[in-house]
Subunit: 150 residues, 2 copies
């Protein structure tokens, strides 16, 4: 017998307007606009957020927020969290797609006691992140942990 | 015999720094920073770009840029392009994921002659968009075309 839980569903909207050439403006209720467009590789310019850059940031932000939520539930005190992330865009069978994203979070913990549970949590972050669940790309998560000076 | 073409690969990097609570700052070379964080649904606040909002904008921007590039190659003159997009976040087998994104581009063409080729191009946009190729979500693309006043 299948047991169903009543999970809520959520909706997220954003608007987009073409502003000329390969550029546009992304907007969403209550948030600052983002200048978006093609990257220089595809006849665009450097100063705008390309779809690929937004994709990378969507994933790395989701992984961070998932880690922070899980850490909070375990009462792990995080002093700092910074991450770099890089997407690889490759042509597979004639179609370009983001095949892999390498994410390197550097996490500073307030206490050495938190190191082991923090590593354990990080091992489950990818499986619990809404965005990693929604993309085809391989995720290569390479966390580094350090302890804040006393 | 397999025939290999030499396709280029591309890399896209972005950084992220936690700024406290459920918020952070996304940055990338030469681009304006984006205030990111959890949406209000998940203990965040309204004024930041959530991973879900970034995901939606990544997709709708990619679809727009793909359409514009294909239109240019066919010498179709586009007067305006604006789009709304909405992601549906659902729990599937105990895991939240973006199961579907509805994208509604409103495209204004300079000439009625362009209507048929523009529709034909839009029919191929999803298959040619790098981001739609990279995500698991179902894409429901609902374009509307109109002709600019003479």
């Amino acid at each position: 017998m299948e047991v169903k839980k009543a999970f809520k569903t959520f909706r997220y909207s954003a608007d987009l307007a073409w502003t000329g050439a390969r550029n546009g403006r992304a907007s969403a209720a209550g948030k600052a606009d983002i200048a978006v467009g093609s990257p220089p590789d595809f006849r665009g310019e450097e100063g705008v957020w390309s779809p690929e850059h937004l994709f990378v940031s969507s994933l790395s932000t989701c992984l961070m927020l998932t880690f922070l939520a899980m850490a909070e539930r375990r009462a792990i005190e995080v002093a700092a969290y910074a991450s770099t992330a890089e997407a690889l865009l490759e042509n597979v069978d004639g179609k370009y797609q983001i095949t892999a994203v390498t994410v390197r979070p550097r996490i500073t913990l307030k206490s050495a006691d938190a190191l082991e549970p923090a590593r354990e949590i990080m091992g489950r972050v990818e499986a619990n992140c809404f965005i990693s669940n929604s993309i085809k790309s391989r995720i290569d998560l390479q966390p580094e942990f350090q302890i804040a000076p006393a």
